[in-house]
Symmetry: C2
Subunit: 321 residues, 2 copies
Protein backbone atom coordinates (compact mmCIF):
# COMPACT_ATOMS: atom_id res chain seq x y z
CA UNK A 1 0.00 0.00 0.00
CA UNK A 2 1.25 3.47 -0.82
CA UNK A 3 1.82 5.84 2.09
CA UNK A 4 -0.76 8.33 0.83
CA UNK A 5 -3.45 5.66 0.64
CA UNK A 6 -3.24 5.15 4.38
CA UNK A 7 -4.79 8.51 5.10
CA UNK A 8 -6.77 9.09 1.93
CA UNK A 9 -9.64 10.38 4.09
CA UNK A 10 -7.46 13.42 4.82
CA UNK A 11 -6.88 14.31 1.17
CA UNK A 12 -8.92 17.53 1.12
CA UNK A 13 -7.29 18.77 4.31
CA UNK A 14 -3.79 17.92 3.13
CA UNK A 15 -4.41 19.84 -0.09
CA UNK A 16 -5.46 22.80 2.04
CA UNK A 17 -2.25 22.58 4.08
CA UNK A 18 -0.25 22.54 0.86
CA UNK A 19 -1.93 25.76 -0.26
CA UNK A 20 -1.40 27.38 3.11
CA UNK A 21 2.27 26.45 2.97
CA UNK A 22 2.65 28.12 -0.39
CA UNK A 23 0.80 31.22 0.74
CA UNK A 24 2.84 31.45 3.90
CA UNK A 25 6.03 32.18 1.97
CA UNK A 26 4.58 34.90 -0.27
CA UNK A 27 6.41 38.15 0.45
CA UNK A 28 7.39 41.38 -1.26
CA UNK A 29 10.96 40.13 -1.33
CA UNK A 30 11.21 38.01 -4.51
CA UNK A 31 14.47 36.50 -3.32
CA UNK A 32 13.01 35.05 -0.12
CA UNK A 33 9.81 33.84 -1.79
CA UNK A 34 11.75 32.22 -4.60
CA UNK A 35 14.16 30.52 -2.20
CA UNK A 36 11.34 29.29 0.04
CA UNK A 37 9.19 28.05 -2.84
CA UNK A 38 12.21 26.32 -4.29
CA UNK A 39 12.44 24.25 -1.13
CA UNK A 40 8.69 23.78 -0.77
CA UNK A 41 8.24 22.57 -4.31
CA UNK A 42 11.11 20.13 -4.01
CA UNK A 43 8.49 18.06 -2.23
CA UNK A 44 9.02 15.99 0.86
CA UNK A 45 6.64 13.65 2.55
CA UNK A 46 4.82 16.26 4.64
CA UNK A 47 4.87 13.62 7.33
CA UNK A 48 4.64 16.16 10.16
CA UNK A 49 1.39 17.75 8.90
CA UNK A 50 -0.03 14.25 8.39
CA UNK A 51 0.76 13.38 12.02
CA UNK A 52 -0.76 16.66 13.21
CA UNK A 53 -4.02 15.99 11.34
CA UNK A 54 -4.22 12.36 12.41
CA UNK A 55 -3.57 13.28 16.05
CA UNK A 56 -6.19 16.01 15.74
CA UNK A 57 -8.75 13.32 14.98
CA UNK A 58 -8.53 12.16 18.62
CA UNK A 59 -10.17 15.42 19.76
CA UNK A 60 -12.81 17.78 18.39
CA UNK A 61 -11.29 17.88 14.91
CA UNK A 62 -11.51 21.25 13.20
CA UNK A 63 -9.27 21.80 10.19
CA UNK A 64 -9.45 25.59 10.64
CA UNK A 65 -7.62 25.15 13.95
CA UNK A 66 -5.28 22.22 13.31
CA UNK A 67 -4.12 23.71 10.03
CA UNK A 68 -2.11 26.33 11.91
CA UNK A 69 -0.23 23.66 13.82
CA UNK A 70 0.28 21.52 10.71
CA UNK A 71 1.67 24.41 8.66
CA UNK A 72 3.79 25.68 11.55
CA UNK A 73 5.45 22.31 12.11
CA UNK A 74 6.22 21.74 8.44
CA UNK A 75 7.70 25.25 8.28
CA UNK A 76 9.91 24.58 11.31
CA UNK A 77 11.08 21.39 9.66
CA UNK A 78 11.79 23.24 6.41
CA UNK A 79 13.67 26.02 8.19
CA UNK A 80 15.85 23.53 9.98
CA UNK A 81 16.59 21.80 6.65
CA UNK A 82 17.74 25.11 5.19
CA UNK A 83 20.08 25.72 8.10
CA UNK A 84 21.24 22.08 8.05
CA UNK A 85 22.27 22.38 4.43
CA UNK A 86 24.53 25.26 5.36
CA UNK A 87 26.17 23.13 8.05
CA UNK A 88 26.46 20.06 5.90
CA UNK A 89 27.70 22.16 3.03
CA UNK A 90 25.15 20.13 1.04
CA UNK A 91 24.61 20.91 -2.61
CA UNK A 92 21.59 18.73 -3.21
CA UNK A 93 18.42 17.89 -1.35
CA UNK A 94 15.62 15.81 -2.81
CA UNK A 95 17.43 15.83 -6.14
CA UNK A 96 17.44 19.63 -6.41
CA UNK A 97 20.18 22.13 -5.63
CA UNK A 98 19.95 23.40 -2.03
CA UNK A 99 19.30 27.06 -1.27
CA UNK A 100 22.87 27.52 -0.11
CA UNK A 101 24.11 25.97 -3.37
CA UNK A 102 21.75 27.95 -5.64
CA UNK A 103 22.20 31.23 -3.78
CA UNK A 104 24.66 31.36 -0.87
CA UNK A 105 25.04 30.66 2.85
CA UNK A 106 23.83 34.10 3.86
CA UNK A 107 20.61 33.80 1.87
CA UNK A 108 20.13 30.31 3.27
CA UNK A 109 20.56 31.56 6.82
CA UNK A 110 18.01 34.33 6.45
CA UNK A 111 15.57 32.26 4.45
CA UNK A 112 15.70 29.84 7.37
CA UNK A 113 15.15 32.69 9.84
CA UNK A 114 12.23 33.94 7.79
CA UNK A 115 10.58 30.51 7.59
CA UNK A 116 11.06 30.04 11.36
CA UNK A 117 9.41 33.39 12.01
CA UNK A 118 6.50 32.57 9.70
CA UNK A 119 5.94 29.33 11.56
CA UNK A 120 5.65 31.28 14.81
CA UNK A 121 3.14 33.60 13.20
CA UNK A 122 1.07 30.56 12.25
CA UNK A 123 1.26 29.15 15.77
CA UNK A 124 0.23 32.49 17.26
CA UNK A 125 -3.27 31.67 16.01
CA UNK A 126 -3.45 28.87 18.56
CA UNK A 127 -4.72 30.32 21.80
CA UNK A 128 -3.23 27.72 24.10
CA UNK A 129 -0.31 28.62 26.31
CA UNK A 130 0.82 25.03 26.78
CA UNK A 131 1.17 24.62 23.01
CA UNK A 132 3.52 27.61 22.86
CA UNK A 133 5.60 26.31 25.74
CA UNK A 134 5.93 22.90 24.11
CA UNK A 135 6.88 24.39 20.76
CA UNK A 136 9.45 26.84 22.08
CA UNK A 137 11.02 24.16 24.23
CA UNK A 138 11.19 21.92 21.16
CA UNK A 139 12.97 24.64 19.21
CA UNK A 140 15.55 25.00 21.98
CA UNK A 141 16.17 21.26 21.84
CA UNK A 142 16.40 21.34 18.04
CA UNK A 143 19.04 24.04 18.06
CA UNK A 144 21.04 22.23 20.74
CA UNK A 145 20.80 19.13 18.57
CA UNK A 146 22.18 21.08 15.65
CA UNK A 147 25.19 22.20 17.65
CA UNK A 148 25.65 18.63 18.85
CA UNK A 149 25.65 17.47 15.25
CA UNK A 150 28.45 19.86 14.35
CA UNK A 151 30.50 18.64 17.30
CA UNK A 152 29.89 14.99 16.44
CA UNK A 153 30.85 15.38 12.81
CA UNK A 154 33.90 13.38 11.77
CA UNK A 155 34.10 12.24 15.39
CA UNK A 156 34.69 8.50 15.49
CA UNK A 157 34.43 8.26 19.26
CA UNK A 158 30.69 7.89 19.39
CA UNK A 159 28.45 5.20 20.72
CA UNK A 160 24.84 4.06 20.53
CA UNK A 161 23.86 6.44 23.34
CA UNK A 162 25.22 9.57 21.65
CA UNK A 163 23.73 8.50 18.31
CA UNK A 164 20.27 7.96 19.79
CA UNK A 165 20.42 11.27 21.66
CA UNK A 166 21.29 13.05 18.44
CA UNK A 167 18.50 11.56 16.32
CA UNK A 168 16.06 12.15 19.17
CA UNK A 169 16.72 15.88 18.92
CA UNK A 170 17.17 15.86 15.17
CA UNK A 171 14.00 13.98 14.17
CA UNK A 172 12.02 12.15 16.82
CA UNK A 173 11.22 15.19 18.95
CA UNK A 174 9.53 17.16 16.17
CA UNK A 175 7.43 14.17 15.09
CA UNK A 176 6.46 13.51 18.73
CA UNK A 177 5.46 17.14 19.14
CA UNK A 178 3.51 17.07 15.85
CA UNK A 179 1.36 14.32 17.31
CA UNK A 180 1.07 16.02 20.68
CA UNK A 181 0.18 19.47 19.35
CA UNK A 182 -2.34 18.07 16.87
CA UNK A 183 -4.16 16.54 19.83
CA UNK A 184 -3.81 19.66 21.97
CA UNK A 185 -5.18 21.85 19.17
CA UNK A 186 -8.41 19.82 19.16
CA UNK A 187 -8.65 19.64 22.96
CA UNK A 188 -8.06 15.90 23.20
CA UNK A 189 -7.59 14.65 26.77
CA UNK A 190 -4.21 14.97 28.45
CA UNK A 191 -3.68 11.20 28.53
CA UNK A 192 -4.36 11.01 24.78
CA UNK A 193 -1.86 13.67 23.84
CA UNK A 194 0.76 12.11 26.09
CA UNK A 195 0.33 8.74 24.40
CA UNK A 196 0.42 10.36 20.99
CA UNK A 197 3.65 12.10 21.93
CA UNK A 198 5.15 8.71 22.82
CA UNK A 199 3.89 7.19 19.60
CA UNK A 200 5.44 10.00 17.56
CA UNK A 201 8.69 9.74 19.44
CA UNK A 202 9.08 6.00 18.76
CA UNK A 203 8.04 6.30 15.11
CA UNK A 204 10.39 9.25 14.71
CA UNK A 205 13.33 7.29 16.05
CA UNK A 206 12.56 4.39 13.68
CA UNK A 207 12.05 6.84 10.83
CA UNK A 208 15.49 8.40 11.27
CA UNK A 209 17.24 5.04 11.71
CA UNK A 210 15.58 3.88 8.48
CA UNK A 211 16.73 7.07 6.77
CA UNK A 212 20.25 6.40 7.96
CA UNK A 213 20.08 2.83 6.63
CA UNK A 214 18.70 3.92 3.25
CA UNK A 215 21.64 6.27 2.85
CA UNK A 216 23.64 3.07 2.22
CA UNK A 217 21.10 0.63 0.80
CA UNK A 218 19.14 2.83 -1.59
CA UNK A 219 20.16 4.16 -5.01
CA UNK A 220 21.39 7.66 -5.84
CA UNK A 221 18.32 8.05 -8.01
CA UNK A 222 15.90 7.26 -5.22
CA UNK A 223 17.84 9.30 -2.65
CA UNK A 224 18.22 12.33 -4.89
CA UNK A 225 21.84 12.53 -3.70
CA UNK A 226 24.88 10.22 -3.82
CA UNK A 227 24.76 6.97 -1.85
CA UNK A 228 26.73 7.35 1.39
CA UNK A 229 26.22 11.13 1.47
CA UNK A 230 25.75 11.17 5.25
CA UNK A 231 29.09 9.53 5.87
CA UNK A 232 30.81 11.67 3.24
CA UNK A 233 29.53 14.69 5.18
CA UNK A 234 31.02 13.29 8.37
CA UNK A 235 27.80 12.04 9.96
CA UNK A 236 28.38 8.80 11.83
CA UNK A 237 25.09 6.92 11.70
CA UNK A 238 23.95 3.64 13.23
CA UNK A 239 25.12 1.26 10.45
CA UNK A 240 28.57 2.89 10.59
CA UNK A 241 28.70 2.57 14.37
CA UNK A 242 27.93 -1.14 14.17
CA UNK A 243 30.40 -1.71 11.34
CA UNK A 244 33.11 0.15 13.25
CA UNK A 245 33.20 -2.63 15.82
CA UNK A 246 35.71 -3.99 13.32
CA UNK A 247 38.88 -1.88 13.90
CA UNK A 248 40.03 -2.32 10.29
CA UNK A 249 36.79 -0.75 9.06
CA UNK A 250 37.14 2.07 11.54
CA UNK A 251 40.56 2.84 10.07
CA UNK A 252 38.99 2.97 6.63
CA UNK A 253 36.42 5.52 7.75
CA UNK A 254 39.19 7.60 9.28
CA UNK A 255 41.02 7.43 5.99
CA UNK A 256 37.89 8.45 4.08
CA UNK A 257 37.59 11.64 6.09
CA UNK A 258 41.06 12.80 5.16
CA UNK A 259 41.33 11.29 1.66
CA UNK A 260 41.32 13.57 -1.33
CA UNK A 261 39.78 11.08 -3.75
CA UNK A 262 36.91 9.45 -1.95
CA UNK A 263 35.06 7.63 -4.77
CA UNK A 264 36.72 4.21 -4.55
CA UNK A 265 36.94 4.35 -0.77
CA UNK A 266 33.26 5.11 -0.21
CA UNK A 267 32.24 2.31 -2.55
CA UNK A 268 34.42 -0.08 -0.62
CA UNK A 269 32.95 1.16 2.67
CA UNK A 270 29.38 0.77 1.45
CA UNK A 271 30.09 -2.78 0.31
CA UNK A 272 31.54 -3.67 3.70
CA UNK A 273 28.67 -2.11 5.64
CA UNK A 274 26.19 -4.12 3.58
CA UNK A 275 28.03 -7.41 4.14
CA UNK A 276 28.91 -6.91 7.81
CA UNK A 277 25.47 -7.38 9.30
CA UNK A 278 25.38 -3.70 10.32
CA UNK A 279 22.27 -3.08 8.20
CA UNK A 280 20.37 -5.97 9.77
CA UNK A 281 21.35 -4.91 13.27
CA UNK A 282 20.24 -1.34 12.56
CA UNK A 283 16.95 -2.58 11.17
CA UNK A 284 16.53 -4.54 14.36
CA UNK A 285 16.90 -1.39 16.49
CA UNK A 286 14.40 0.37 14.25
CA UNK A 287 11.95 -2.52 14.58
CA UNK A 288 12.17 -2.36 18.35
CA UNK A 289 11.09 1.28 18.26
CA UNK A 290 8.28 0.49 15.84
CA UNK A 291 7.03 -2.27 18.13
CA UNK A 292 6.97 0.21 21.00
CA UNK A 293 5.04 2.66 18.82
CA UNK A 294 2.49 0.00 17.94
CA UNK A 295 2.15 -0.97 21.61
CA UNK A 296 1.32 2.63 22.48
CA UNK A 297 -1.59 2.53 20.05
CA UNK A 298 -3.29 -0.02 22.31
CA UNK A 299 -3.81 2.75 24.83
CA UNK A 300 -5.69 4.92 22.35
CA UNK A 301 -9.38 4.80 21.39
CA UNK A 302 -10.21 3.05 18.11
CA UNK A 303 -10.86 5.24 15.08
CA UNK A 304 -9.78 5.76 11.47
CA UNK A 305 -6.80 7.85 12.54
CA UNK A 306 -5.50 5.10 14.83
CA UNK A 307 -5.71 2.64 11.97
CA UNK A 308 -3.74 5.04 9.76
CA UNK A 309 -1.10 5.53 12.46
CA UNK A 310 -0.74 1.78 12.71
CA UNK A 311 -0.26 1.46 8.96
CA UNK A 312 2.25 4.29 8.89
CA UNK A 313 4.28 2.62 11.64
CA UNK A 314 4.24 -0.60 9.64
CA UNK A 315 5.22 1.32 6.50
CA UNK A 316 8.21 3.01 8.16
CA UNK A 317 9.68 -0.40 8.84
CA UNK A 318 9.43 -1.40 5.20
CA UNK A 319 10.03 1.77 3.26
CA UNK A 320 12.56 1.69 0.48
CA UNK A 321 12.95 5.46 -0.05
CA UNK B 1 23.48 63.12 32.80
CA UNK B 2 24.52 59.54 32.24
CA UNK B 3 22.00 57.26 30.53
CA UNK B 4 21.80 54.92 33.52
CA UNK B 5 20.97 57.75 35.88
CA UNK B 6 17.77 58.42 33.99
CA UNK B 7 16.20 55.22 35.21
CA UNK B 8 18.12 54.64 38.44
CA UNK B 9 14.83 53.66 40.08
CA UNK B 10 14.93 50.50 37.95
CA UNK B 11 18.39 49.42 39.10
CA UNK B 12 17.29 46.37 41.10
CA UNK B 13 15.07 45.15 38.28
CA UNK B 14 17.73 45.67 35.62
CA UNK B 15 20.20 43.70 37.70
CA UNK B 16 17.62 40.90 37.85
CA UNK B 17 17.23 40.97 34.05
CA UNK B 18 20.99 40.73 33.68
CA UNK B 19 21.02 37.60 35.85
CA UNK B 20 18.12 36.08 33.94
CA UNK B 21 19.94 36.74 30.67
CA UNK B 22 22.99 34.89 31.92
CA UNK B 23 20.93 31.99 33.22
CA UNK B 24 19.01 31.75 29.98
CA UNK B 25 22.09 30.69 28.02
CA UNK B 26 23.26 27.99 30.44
CA UNK B 27 23.20 24.64 28.65
CA UNK B 28 24.93 21.28 28.68
CA UNK B 29 26.65 22.26 25.45
CA UNK B 30 29.75 24.21 26.55
CA UNK B 31 30.23 25.54 23.03
CA UNK B 32 26.85 27.22 22.85
CA UNK B 33 27.01 28.58 26.39
CA UNK B 34 30.49 29.93 25.83
CA UNK B 35 29.53 31.55 22.53
CA UNK B 36 26.37 33.10 24.00
CA UNK B 37 28.07 34.36 27.16
CA UNK B 38 30.85 35.79 25.02
CA UNK B 39 28.27 37.98 23.30
CA UNK B 40 26.32 38.74 26.48
CA UNK B 41 29.37 39.82 28.40
CA UNK B 42 30.57 42.06 25.60
CA UNK B 43 27.95 44.39 27.04
CA UNK B 44 25.59 46.57 25.13
CA UNK B 45 23.18 49.16 26.37
CA UNK B 46 20.31 46.77 27.18
CA UNK B 47 18.13 49.52 25.81
CA UNK B 48 15.31 47.12 24.87
CA UNK B 49 14.88 45.73 28.40
CA UNK B 50 14.96 49.28 29.75
CA UNK B 51 12.12 50.26 27.38
CA UNK B 52 10.16 47.15 28.37
CA UNK B 53 10.43 47.97 32.07
CA UNK B 54 9.64 51.64 31.62
CA UNK B 55 6.62 50.85 29.47
CA UNK B 56 5.55 48.31 32.06
CA UNK B 57 5.28 51.14 34.57
CA UNK B 58 2.22 52.43 32.71
CA UNK B 59 0.23 49.36 33.82
CA UNK B 60 0.13 47.14 36.89
CA UNK B 61 3.90 46.78 37.08
CA UNK B 62 5.08 43.38 38.19
CA UNK B 63 8.72 42.52 37.55
CA UNK B 64 7.96 38.79 37.69
CA UNK B 65 5.85 39.21 34.55
CA UNK B 66 7.66 41.95 32.62
CA UNK B 67 11.01 40.24 33.12
CA UNK B 68 10.04 37.55 30.59
CA UNK B 69 9.35 40.16 27.93
CA UNK B 70 12.49 42.12 28.77
CA UNK B 71 14.74 39.06 28.58
CA UNK B 72 13.00 37.76 25.44
CA UNK B 73 13.49 41.03 23.56
CA UNK B 74 17.14 41.36 24.48
CA UNK B 75 17.70 37.76 23.40
CA UNK B 76 16.01 38.40 20.04
CA UNK B 77 18.23 41.42 19.57
CA UNK B 78 21.32 39.37 20.47
CA UNK B 79 20.35 36.54 18.13
CA UNK B 80 19.91 38.95 15.26
CA UNK B 81 23.33 40.47 16.01
CA UNK B 82 24.91 37.02 15.80
CA UNK B 83 23.32 36.38 12.42
CA UNK B 84 24.13 39.91 11.24
CA UNK B 85 27.80 39.38 11.98
CA UNK B 86 27.75 36.38 9.66
CA UNK B 87 26.23 38.50 6.90
CA UNK B 88 28.51 41.45 7.46
CA UNK B 89 31.48 39.13 7.74
CA UNK B 90 32.25 41.26 10.81
CA UNK B 91 35.22 40.36 12.95
CA UNK B 92 34.58 42.74 15.81
CA UNK B 93 31.58 43.88 17.78
CA UNK B 94 31.80 46.09 20.85
CA UNK B 95 35.57 45.81 20.71
CA UNK B 96 35.52 42.00 20.99
CA UNK B 97 35.87 39.33 18.32
CA UNK B 98 32.46 38.25 16.98
CA UNK B 99 31.21 34.67 17.38
CA UNK B 100 31.73 34.01 13.70
CA UNK B 101 35.31 35.30 13.97
CA UNK B 102 36.15 33.42 17.19
CA UNK B 103 34.45 30.19 16.11
CA UNK B 104 32.93 30.02 12.60
CA UNK B 105 29.82 30.85 10.56
CA UNK B 106 28.13 27.56 11.36
CA UNK B 107 28.51 27.98 15.10
CA UNK B 108 27.31 31.59 14.76
CA UNK B 109 24.23 30.46 12.84
CA UNK B 110 23.22 27.87 15.40
CA UNK B 111 24.08 30.01 18.38
CA UNK B 112 21.71 32.56 16.86
CA UNK B 113 19.06 29.86 16.37
CA UNK B 114 19.50 28.74 19.96
CA UNK B 115 19.21 32.26 21.37
CA UNK B 116 16.08 32.87 19.24
CA UNK B 117 14.52 29.69 20.58
CA UNK B 118 15.37 30.61 24.18
CA UNK B 119 13.69 33.97 23.70
CA UNK B 120 10.51 32.18 22.60
CA UNK B 121 10.68 29.98 25.67
CA UNK B 122 10.82 33.12 27.79
CA UNK B 123 7.88 34.66 26.00
CA UNK B 124 5.85 31.47 26.40
CA UNK B 125 5.48 32.50 30.05
CA UNK B 126 3.31 35.41 28.95
CA UNK B 127 -0.26 34.20 28.70
CA UNK B 128 -1.47 36.79 26.22
CA UNK B 129 -2.22 35.78 22.65
CA UNK B 130 -1.87 39.31 21.28
CA UNK B 131 1.68 39.52 22.64
CA UNK B 132 2.64 36.36 20.74
CA UNK B 133 1.08 37.64 17.55
CA UNK B 134 2.94 40.93 17.82
CA UNK B 135 6.23 39.23 18.53
CA UNK B 136 6.01 36.65 15.75
CA UNK B 137 5.00 39.30 13.27
CA UNK B 138 7.98 41.38 14.38
CA UNK B 139 10.30 38.46 13.79
CA UNK B 140 8.95 38.04 10.25
CA UNK B 141 9.62 41.73 9.61
CA UNK B 142 13.10 41.46 11.10
CA UNK B 143 14.05 38.57 8.85
CA UNK B 144 12.68 40.35 5.78
CA UNK B 145 14.74 43.35 6.83
CA UNK B 146 17.82 41.17 6.98
CA UNK B 147 17.29 39.93 3.43
CA UNK B 148 16.67 43.50 2.33
CA UNK B 149 19.95 44.52 3.90
CA UNK B 150 21.82 41.88 1.90
CA UNK B 151 20.20 43.08 -1.30
CA UNK B 152 20.95 46.72 -0.53
CA UNK B 153 24.60 46.09 0.24
CA UNK B 154 27.00 47.83 -2.13
CA UNK B 155 23.93 49.10 -3.97
CA UNK B 156 24.37 52.80 -4.70
CA UNK B 157 20.89 53.23 -6.17
CA UNK B 158 19.17 53.87 -2.89
CA UNK B 159 17.19 56.79 -1.62
CA UNK B 160 15.85 58.17 1.64
CA UNK B 161 12.74 56.00 1.40
CA UNK B 162 14.61 52.70 1.06
CA UNK B 163 17.01 53.72 3.83
CA UNK B 164 14.19 54.57 6.24
CA UNK B 165 12.36 51.36 5.44
CA UNK B 166 15.49 49.37 6.16
CA UNK B 167 16.27 50.96 9.54
CA UNK B 168 12.60 50.68 10.48
CA UNK B 169 12.85 46.91 10.18
CA UNK B 170 16.39 46.72 11.45
CA UNK B 171 16.02 48.78 14.63
CA UNK B 172 12.90 50.87 15.13
CA UNK B 173 10.43 48.00 15.04
CA UNK B 174 12.02 46.04 17.88
CA UNK B 175 12.26 49.11 20.10
CA UNK B 176 8.65 50.01 19.31
CA UNK B 177 7.57 46.48 20.18
CA UNK B 178 9.65 46.55 23.39
CA UNK B 179 7.59 49.52 24.54
CA UNK B 180 4.33 47.99 23.37
CA UNK B 181 4.88 44.55 24.91
CA UNK B 182 6.08 46.02 28.22
CA UNK B 183 2.74 47.81 28.47
CA UNK B 184 0.76 44.76 27.33
CA UNK B 185 2.49 42.57 29.90
CA UNK B 186 1.24 44.82 32.70
CA UNK B 187 -2.26 45.20 31.23
CA UNK B 188 -1.95 48.89 30.43
CA UNK B 189 -4.84 50.25 28.35
CA UNK B 190 -4.87 49.76 24.59
CA UNK B 191 -4.45 53.48 23.90
CA UNK B 192 -1.38 53.56 26.18
CA UNK B 193 0.37 50.68 24.48
CA UNK B 194 -0.36 52.15 21.05
CA UNK B 195 1.20 55.47 22.05
CA UNK B 196 4.18 53.68 23.56
CA UNK B 197 4.63 51.76 20.32
CA UNK B 198 4.76 55.06 18.42
CA UNK B 199 7.18 56.53 20.92
CA UNK B 200 9.49 53.53 20.58
CA UNK B 201 9.26 53.65 16.82
CA UNK B 202 10.31 57.31 16.60
CA UNK B 203 13.09 56.93 19.17
CA UNK B 204 14.28 53.78 17.41
CA UNK B 205 14.52 55.59 14.07
CA UNK B 206 16.52 58.42 15.69
CA UNK B 207 18.66 55.89 17.52
CA UNK B 208 19.67 54.12 14.32
CA UNK B 209 20.29 57.34 12.40
CA UNK B 210 22.53 58.48 15.28
CA UNK B 211 24.34 55.14 15.16
CA UNK B 212 24.89 55.61 11.46
CA UNK B 213 26.24 59.11 12.04
CA UNK B 214 28.57 57.99 14.83
CA UNK B 215 30.08 55.41 12.49
CA UNK B 216 31.74 58.44 10.82
CA UNK B 217 32.07 60.99 13.61
CA UNK B 218 33.19 58.84 16.55
CA UNK B 219 36.59 57.28 17.21
CA UNK B 220 37.63 53.67 16.64
CA UNK B 221 38.20 53.41 20.39
CA UNK B 222 34.66 54.49 21.27
CA UNK B 223 33.08 52.43 18.48
CA UNK B 224 35.03 49.28 19.28
CA UNK B 225 35.58 48.88 15.52
CA UNK B 226 37.19 50.95 12.75
CA UNK B 227 35.60 54.30 11.83
CA UNK B 228 33.56 53.92 8.65
CA UNK B 229 32.99 50.18 9.22
CA UNK B 230 29.39 50.35 7.97
CA UNK B 231 30.43 51.75 4.63
CA UNK B 232 33.38 49.39 4.36
CA UNK B 233 30.89 46.54 4.77
CA UNK B 234 28.79 47.98 1.95
CA UNK B 235 26.03 49.53 4.08
CA UNK B 236 24.85 52.80 2.58
CA UNK B 237 23.64 54.91 5.50
CA UNK B 238 22.01 58.33 5.67
CA UNK B 239 25.17 60.48 5.76
CA UNK B 240 26.46 58.62 2.69
CA UNK B 241 23.16 59.10 0.87
CA UNK B 242 23.27 62.85 1.48
CA UNK B 243 26.93 63.11 0.51
CA UNK B 244 26.29 61.14 -2.69
CA UNK B 245 24.23 64.01 -4.04
CA UNK B 246 27.68 65.07 -5.22
CA UNK B 247 28.41 62.76 -8.22
CA UNK B 248 32.17 62.95 -7.67
CA UNK B 249 31.71 61.58 -4.16
CA UNK B 250 29.46 58.85 -5.43
CA UNK B 251 32.23 57.77 -7.79
CA UNK B 252 34.60 57.61 -4.85
CA UNK B 253 32.27 55.29 -2.94
CA UNK B 254 31.99 53.08 -6.00
CA UNK B 255 35.76 52.98 -6.19
CA UNK B 256 36.00 52.12 -2.48
CA UNK B 257 33.84 49.03 -2.95
CA UNK B 258 36.15 47.58 -5.58
CA UNK B 259 39.49 48.91 -4.33
CA UNK B 260 41.99 46.50 -2.88
CA UNK B 261 43.64 48.99 -0.54
CA UNK B 262 40.88 50.93 1.13
CA UNK B 263 42.72 52.73 3.96
CA UNK B 264 43.49 56.04 2.22
CA UNK B 265 40.20 56.05 0.34
CA UNK B 266 38.02 55.58 3.40
CA UNK B 267 39.86 58.34 5.24
CA UNK B 268 39.26 60.65 2.32
CA UNK B 269 35.60 59.67 2.21
CA UNK B 270 35.12 60.27 5.94
CA UNK B 271 36.71 63.69 5.66
CA UNK B 272 34.40 64.63 2.81
CA UNK B 273 31.27 63.37 4.58
CA UNK B 274 32.17 65.46 7.62
CA UNK B 275 32.73 68.63 5.57
CA UNK B 276 29.79 68.22 3.17
CA UNK B 277 26.98 69.01 5.56
CA UNK B 278 25.76 65.41 5.36
CA UNK B 279 26.24 64.91 9.10
CA UNK B 280 24.22 68.02 10.00
CA UNK B 281 21.43 67.03 7.60
CA UNK B 282 21.33 63.53 9.06
CA UNK B 283 21.19 64.94 12.58
CA UNK B 284 18.30 67.07 11.44
CA UNK B 285 16.34 63.99 10.29
CA UNK B 286 17.11 62.31 13.61
CA UNK B 287 15.94 65.40 15.52
CA UNK B 288 12.65 65.38 13.66
CA UNK B 289 11.99 61.83 14.82
CA UNK B 290 12.96 62.73 18.38
CA UNK B 291 10.58 65.66 18.36
CA UNK B 292 7.79 63.33 17.23
CA UNK B 293 8.72 60.93 20.04
CA UNK B 294 8.56 63.72 22.59
CA UNK B 295 5.21 64.89 21.22
CA UNK B 296 3.80 61.39 21.74
CA UNK B 297 4.69 61.60 25.41
CA UNK B 298 2.11 64.38 25.83
CA UNK B 299 -0.58 61.74 25.30
CA UNK B 300 0.65 59.60 28.17
CA UNK B 301 -0.09 59.94 31.89
CA UNK B 302 2.61 61.61 34.02
CA UNK B 303 4.85 59.33 36.04
CA UNK B 304 8.51 58.58 36.72
CA UNK B 305 8.72 56.35 33.67
CA UNK B 306 7.45 59.08 31.35
CA UNK B 307 10.09 61.43 32.71
CA UNK B 308 12.75 58.80 32.03
CA UNK B 309 11.48 58.23 28.48
CA UNK B 310 11.67 61.98 27.88
CA UNK B 311 15.26 62.08 29.12
CA UNK B 312 16.24 59.06 27.03
CA UNK B 313 14.80 60.70 23.92
CA UNK B 314 16.80 63.83 24.69
CA UNK B 315 19.89 61.70 25.30
CA UNK B 316 19.63 59.87 21.97
CA UNK B 317 19.93 63.21 20.21
CA UNK B 318 23.14 64.05 22.00
CA UNK B 319 24.90 60.75 22.47
CA UNK B 320 28.51 60.52 21.47
CA UNK B 321 28.87 56.71 21.53
Amino acid sequence: MKLKMMYAFLNTDIALIEKELEQSVQTNEPLITEASLHLLQAGGKRIRPVFVLLAGKFGEYNIERVKYVAVALELIHMASLVHDDVIDDADKRRGKPTIKAKWDNRIAMYTGDYIFARSLEMMANIKNVEAHQILSNTMVQLSLGEIEQIKDKYNLDQNLRTYLRRIRRKTALLIAVSCQLGAIATDASKSVHKELYRFGYYVGMAFQITDDILDFTSSAEQLGKPVGSDLLQGNITLPVLFAMENPAFRDKVELLFTAEHKEALIEDIITYIKSSGAIERSLNVSDQYLQKAIDVLDHLPDNKAKKALYQIAKFVGKRKF
